[in-house]
């Protein structure tokens, strides 16, 4: 019967270990959410943009290269806003600081909150795009029928890879429920962006 007892103990040990792995993997799935975010932010993969303001680096402007920067704005079904940009595309030198105006219009009578979420393509350009000031750092509030123009000030770093000639910046508007959970770094970065 001791052999049977040893077998029972073995089964128990196996079960405990597999259940531990199970719990670990379930936790790992959730841990991947922040890890993925951090990974994308550090490497600039997936076009994830750092939503904190950068200081202007005073470096020599690379006059030999022109980079075409395109702007695309997209609305959202849940938000009666329109977003437009003064120029669909502009040509800048690496190192040069550029400014472009975006206009937000609230087409409804009611005040509402929204947020423009950026994405950069190609993703390898993400870390070289330094945003000095951007409306995307914080949530916006528009009164009914209000129109608001906010500039985007950015700089392309001089170490932008040679094979990049065009950078596309996409802003998608999303409604924000002020009561709902909002990303942690929103309000914190709002102050130091100006």
């Amino acid at each position: 019967m001791t052999e049977n007892g040893a077998q029972q103990a073995g089964v128990k040990r196996t079960v405990i270990r597999t259940v531990a792995v199970l719990i670990g993997m379930f936790a790992f799935a959730f841990a991947l959410v922040p890890l993925y975010d951090v990974f994308c932010r550090i490497t600039g993969l997936n076009g994830k943009v750092d939503t904190t303001a950068k200081a202007i680096i005073h470096e020599e402007i690379d006059q030999s290269r022109f980079i075409t920067v395109q702007f695309i704005t997209r609305g959202s079904a849940g938000l009666p806003w329109q977003m437009s940009v003064e120029a669909r595309q502009m040509r800048v030198h690496p190192g040069q600081t550029a400014e472009v105006d975006f206009t937000f219009t609230n087409n409804s009578q009611r005040e509402s909150w929204g947020r423009a979420v950026p994405s950069v393509s190609p993703s390898s350009a993400t870390t070289h795009l330094r945003k000095v000031s951007c409306f995307c750092f914080q949530e916006q509030q528009l009164q009914g029928d209000e129109r608001l123009t906010i500039p985007l000030i950015f700089q392309l770093a001089r170490d932008l890879p040679e094979d990049i000639h065009t950078i596309t910046l996409v802003y998608t508007l999303y409604p924000v429920q002020r009561v709902a959970l909002s990303p942690v770094n929103n309000n914190k970065s709002a102050g130091d962006s100006i």
């Binding site: 379930f26 991947l32 959410v33 076009g47 959202s76 947020r115 993703s123 998608t172």
Partner: protein, 549 residues
Amino acid sequence: MAPKLPPQHSLQHSSTAVAGGPSQEHHAHVAHPKGVMRWLLTTNHKEIGSLYLIFSLTMFFVGGIFALVVRAELFQPGLQLVEPEFFNQMTTMHGLIMVFAAVMPAFTGLANWMIPLQIGAPDMALPRLNNFSFWLLPIAFTLLLSTLLMPGGGPNFGWTFYAPLSTTYAPASTTFFILALHIAGISSILGAINIIATILNMRAPGMRMMDMPLFVWTWLITAFLLIAVMPVLAGVITMMLMDINFGTSFFDAAGGGDPVLFQHLFWFFGHPEVYIMILPAFGIVSAIIPTFARKPLFGYASMVYATAAIALLSFLVWAHHMFIVGLPLTAELFFMYSTMLIAVPTGVKVFNWVTTLFRGSISFEPPMLFALAFVVLFTIGGFSGLMLAIAPADFQYHDTYFVVAHFHYVLVPGAIFAIMAGVYYWLPKWTGHYPNERLAQCHFWCSIIGVNLTFFPMHFAGLAGMPRRIPDYALQFADFNLLSSIGAFFFGASQLLFVLVVVLCVRGGQKAPAKAWEGAVDLEWSVPSPAPLHTFETPPVFHRAQSHD
């Protein structure tokens, strides 16, 4: 006369192993519930194995009917039979039912029946848990199927349920879908724990790990894959649940989430999942080919290592499902090469099967026919997989019928043919009768014609650019789809033959001896046919001579 093998009794273990009369009587006076309660409360691995297999076969027909609705709609261009919304529910449900309710429970059923018999254990390590993990399944899939009757319909976002299609834009029944998948996932996890505990602790004295039959080995590795990835699936669907009902934004860009994260998490589960559906098939085929080639399996150890290598690599290739989401070049290259690397251990396996056949004394009984068809047709599916692995080519093939052709080649004549081969192989052990040879041969030839007629034209439709999951198509794809639909109905109808063979075999037929197939060597052939309810109550003595090295 069919090439029936001469009955060769070799009950070398009968003195020690087989629980004969006395032990049967010993159990006779334990009060067994009758009728439904017997099945509801059973803790016997053979009865639970049968329950799994019957459930799986039922769901195979349910999922098959969904597929036939899809094929009927695609019979000719234009929208004729069903609404596009219902078409979407059918493609989704077909995938979900076939993956989670047909293929996976079939393998678990075979594992329940055969693993204790193959390692000389009296039962599974945790018999009550075994009962629980089976009975979760009918609950899960009744719930899942009931969503079709709910207002707004059932899941319509494809079996991969990509967010935000499955969160923001999903029908109201999605929460039920999530619950059903949670229950099914718990069932698989409990099954996997049980299988690991059984294999690691309950082998016959003297049986080392490297003496285990390959079906046991492949299932052990599969169970580890289940333990590793089912919790990730549970995590993903929990995040979906929270996004839908509790206002979080895991996959919602508005709140700082990322829809691409969903795809990463899903395929981190999803790619090992597709190997969960094929590794046990490798084990079944590795049992059948040596038996009917009357030669020991070539390269037993390399088979074990190749299986383990495939399992490990399966964690490193998930993003090959996402080549067009905008991965950076480095990631595209990494996932392309790691995917191609899987062809190496898979090639080892195919080589070993072919080499086992080489100069073998081969006979072509139904299990062998299905196993040989598996080797050929699975390899075709493997080759189209290699084509899809090439990232730049995948930009063209992505989401076309070429992908549909690829994964149906590895799942239908792959996983499902292997299951059928296993059923034909072990039916004599389960029922004590050989399956009707003529009907089984007929089933095989109808299946192989049906499967190729259905899925081979899909390669061409896909290469020509026909997108998947769309109820209508351009006129130039009409001929391919006509052939596919005819093939699908032929294949579906010929599976009724399978049911007929199984029912006839349960009810009677040519009596099978303990060792039903001449070349069979594993331990299960040392117990009488049909296997008594309780076997190996005294552990058998395992003879190294019959091991693989």
